[in-house]
């Protein structure tokens, strides 16, 4: 970013297409969704406005006014009130929805009063004829005293005009207020303005109402400002009056410039709402949607997953026979290839999940779900809006926890954050998938529903049910006072934009694979090292074993296997696994699974990769079989039975359903709650619960 670059901030009501416009301007892609409040943090990108002029564009969360009621909205206020030159925007690009221009102009009028150069982009003009709307652009420009551009971010129309308007507005650097609060109570606002003439009246008013002071404000001035804050009811009354006054001004302006011919408007909304929010069909459809998602995750992905699994096994084989023998080849064949395979294999399932979530958000259906679920969620100390984090938590807990920012009540938000990690995120999927395929037969129930898919569904239900139950307990025990206020906009139904959905799926899958991939790759190298090195007993393993079995007359193959097993047991990782074995034996696990449990505290998905690495090191097979086959044939030397039998498998499934095994989530919870208290409670509470439940399951089934 060079000094000359214009800093542009995108501001507007939720769901008006700011992110779509941001994508068009910057060419960067980020999440766009038809659920109000999808952008919950600011995001930057750069844009070439003309041959000589660049701009740095910031995309902000949507807000209805500058007065924030939730964390995402307060980000906008903070950006606007920041007076230091580096951060504050030069030009504000207000994005408005053509269909609801009146309400969109309220925020516009507030921003105008901050006296920052402003461009108004009226978006979704492709909908104008369908809705019977006509606009007198020249008159509107004049009335608002602002550059106004009609655009369609989706159809890529008017983007060049936006760029030109930004430059024009920046050069002119003119900024005039739109409303004058002095009209509400002249004496009161005169006195306020007198405190510091360097600030606009509206800025001073915001400092009073929001108690948000720039650093440059002196102590004296601050005290004066705070004295305005004493009479709370008066303050509140004036805020109400101000809003009404703003709407009066807006109505005056729009009266002659913005016309709606209702007779021409065609609207599907009412008909669709009748079905989607119906007291019976509404829930029924929601349930069907969920069922469809889970069925597809299992059905559509099994083929590509098997393919990936065998491909990586073959790749290992190929590498083994073509690379010279040595330490480095061992690392590649036994550490890196199985490790990477362990990540790649989740791609199909994760992509399908993200695809469904993106489509649900794009179409506007999510808001209907919020509407349907609010009353139910409230009984459990949450909010209708909590359903979004709970659903997107099935993909990944991190964006889900970020999504709670739209919930304005702190208690409801905190409870949602605390229980989200119980929902089955996609990192659990590979663990579930491999365990289910080992212990549940591949048969059909009720004639059509796959038993394995049904088990998976039950695991999702278990996660969701536990989340709800935990929320209920938290609601009863947490002593936090915060008033619960709820209002959700119901956006129009839209056909999902294929581009938005595809970008979304691509971007999220990429982020997930790269993020998880790095951890898995690093861990698999560390693991491989720990598994192929050890103290004295490791180095002597070969010699000792040969001596021990000398009289047993074993074939070379058998002997090699025996040696490999003893080696693994005496390696560093083997010693670590062995040392926790007493604690996990009652759950039905051996020390090898213990190793996988230890490593998967970094991230759950490491489980499969870890076992893959351990078993490739452990078996000295010339032919690399797939991970699944290796796990299936594992025998517990103590009992002579299969390790992954039904009781142990079930116990592991339960353990993974409850345990808090994701460092990234803990870090995000710390950031969002601003203390280590809550992530630590999650870590110990959830893992303790996991231990107890797995113990019960194994002891009953055994």
């Amino acid at each position: 970013m060079s000094k000359k670059d214009i800093k542009v901030a995108l501001i507007g009501n939720p769901n008006t297409g700011k992110t779509s416009l941001f994508n068009q301007l910057t060419g960067l892609t980020q999440k766009v969704g038809n659920y109000p409040g999808v952008t919950v943090d600011k995001k930057q990108g750069s844009c070439k406005l003309s041959a000589t002029q660049n701009a740095v564009i910031t995309d902000l969360p949507g807000t209805y006014s500058i007065n924030p009621t939730s964390v995402d909205e307060s980000i906008v206020l903070k950006t606007l009130l920041k007076k230091d030159i580096k951060e504050s925007p030069d030009v504000i690009l207000v994005v408005a929805d053509v269909e609801n221009l009146k309400r969109n102009l309220l925020l516009f009028s507030q921003i105008k009063d901050l006296e920052i150069p402003t461009v108004l982009a009226i978006n979704m003009v492709d909908q104008m004829t369908r809705k019977g709307i006509s606009i007198d652009l020249t008159a509107l420009k004049e009335e608002l005293n602002t550059e106004v551009v009609l655009i369609s971010a989706r159809k890529n129309q008017g983007i060049e005009a936006v760029k030109a308007a930004i430059i024009k507005c920046h050069v002119a650097a003119k900024a005039t207020p739109m409303c004058d609060n002095k009209k509400i109570d002249p004496a009161y606002f005169e006195e306020l303005k007198a405190i510091n003439p360097n600030y606009t009246l509206y800025e001073l008013w915001l400092m009073v109402t929001q108690k948000n002071f720039p650093e440059e404000i002196s102590k004296q001035e601050k005290e004066k400002l705070l004295s305005f804050n004493k009479d709370v009811s008066k303050l509140k009354k004036y805020q109400h009056k101000e809003t009404i006054y703003r709407y009066q001004e807006i109505n005056k302006i729009l009266k002659n410039t913005y016309l709606v011919d209702k007779s021409k408007a065609k609207d599907l909304r009412a008909k669709l709402d009748k079905v989607f929010t119906h007291r019976i069909f509404g829930y029924f459809i929601f349930l069907l949607v969920l069922l469809l998602i889970f069925q597809s995750i299992f059905d559509w992905s099994s083929l590509p997953m098997d393919l990936i699994d065998t491909t990586f096994a073959e790749l290992s084989d190929f590498a083994r026979s073509n690379l010279p023998t040595g330490v480095l080849s061992d690392l590649i064949v036994e550490g890196i290839i199985p490790g990477i395979g362990g990540v790649i294999i989740f791609i199909p399932q994760i992509a399908i999940l993200f695809l469904f979530i993106a489509v649900l958000e794009e179409t506007g259906y999510m808001s209907r779900v919020v509407f349907l679920m609010d009353k139910i969620m409230r009984r459990f100390g949450m909010n209708g809006k909590s359903i979004i984090p709970l659903i997107s938590g099935t993909a990944c807990a991190i964006p889900a926890i970020m999504a709670t920012r739209t919930i304005s009540s702190w208690k409801e938000r905190l409870i949602t954050i605390l229980v989200v990690p119980f929902t089955t995120c996609s990192a659990r999927l590979p663990v579930y998938a491999i365990l289910i395929s080992l212990i549940i037969p591949d048969t059909k129930i009720f004639g059509f529903y796959n038993l394995q898919a049904f088990t998976l569904l039950m695991l999702y239900a278990l996660g969701f049910g536990t989340a709800i139950l935990a929320a209920y307990i938290l609601q009863k025990t947490l002593k936090i006072k915060s008033n619960s206020f709820f209002v959700v906009e119901m956006p129009n139904y839209k056909l999902p934009s294929v581009k938005n959905v595809l970008f979304d799926v691509l971007e999220k899958t990429k982020a997930f694979v790269l993020g998880a991939g790095k951890i898995i790759l690093a861990l698999s190298v560390v693991l491989w090292f720990l598994a192929s090195n050890g103290p004295e007993s490791y180095k002597n393993a070969e010699q000792n074993t040969i001596e021990k079995v000398a009289n047993k007359n074993l074939g070379t193959d058998e002997l090699q296997q025996k040696i490999a097993a003893v080696k693994l047991e005496n390696s560093y990782i083997g010693i670590m696994g062995k040392s926790i074995e007493p604690a996990i034996r009652p759950l039905g696990y051996d020390w090898k699974i213990g190793i996988a449990l230890i490593t998967s505290f970094a991230a759950r998905e490491v489980f499969v990769g870890t076992l893959a690495t351990i078993y490739s090191v452990g078996s000295d097979d010339e032919n690399t079989t797939t991970i699944k086959e290796k796990m299936r044939s594992e025998i517990n030397p103590a009992t002579g039975k299969k390790i992954f039998n039904f009781p142990a498998g079930m116990s592991l499934l339960v353990f993974y359903a409850f345990a808090m095994q994701c460092m990234a989530t803990l870090a995000i919870v710390k950031r969002e709650t601003k203390t280590w208290k809550w992530p630590l409670i999650q870590l110990f509470g959830m893992t303790g619960l996991a231990y107890v439940c797995s113990l019960i399951v194994f002891q009953i089934l055994k």
Binding site: Y64, N67, R103, L106, F371, K375, F485, V487
Partner: protein
């Protein structure tokens, strides 16, 4: 006393001037103004929240809030 909560599905009313103080600021800002026409579009299956249309905005609000906003029913 008539409030938004006492409307039937499809029915309309005007928000009365005297309820100004009991409308939360956020709702005012979203267009729920005294004098504005309001229609009850849908009631959620468990009788709460309510789905209303006011001043061109389609909003879902809780019954608790709705029952504080007085209206004059239109004939």
């Amino acid at each position: 006393m008539n409030t938004i909560a006492s409307l039937h599905i499809g029915e309309m009313g005007y928000i009365s001037e005297e309820s100004l103080d009991s409308i939360p600021l956020k709702l005012l800002e979203m267009g729920c103004l005294p004098g504005a026409e309001v229609q009850l579009v849908q009631i959620a299956p468990l009788k709460d929240p309510l789905y209303i249309c006011v001043n061109g905005s389609h909003l879902a609000i809780r019954k608790e809030t709705a029952s504080k906003i007085r209206i004059l029913k239109s004939e």
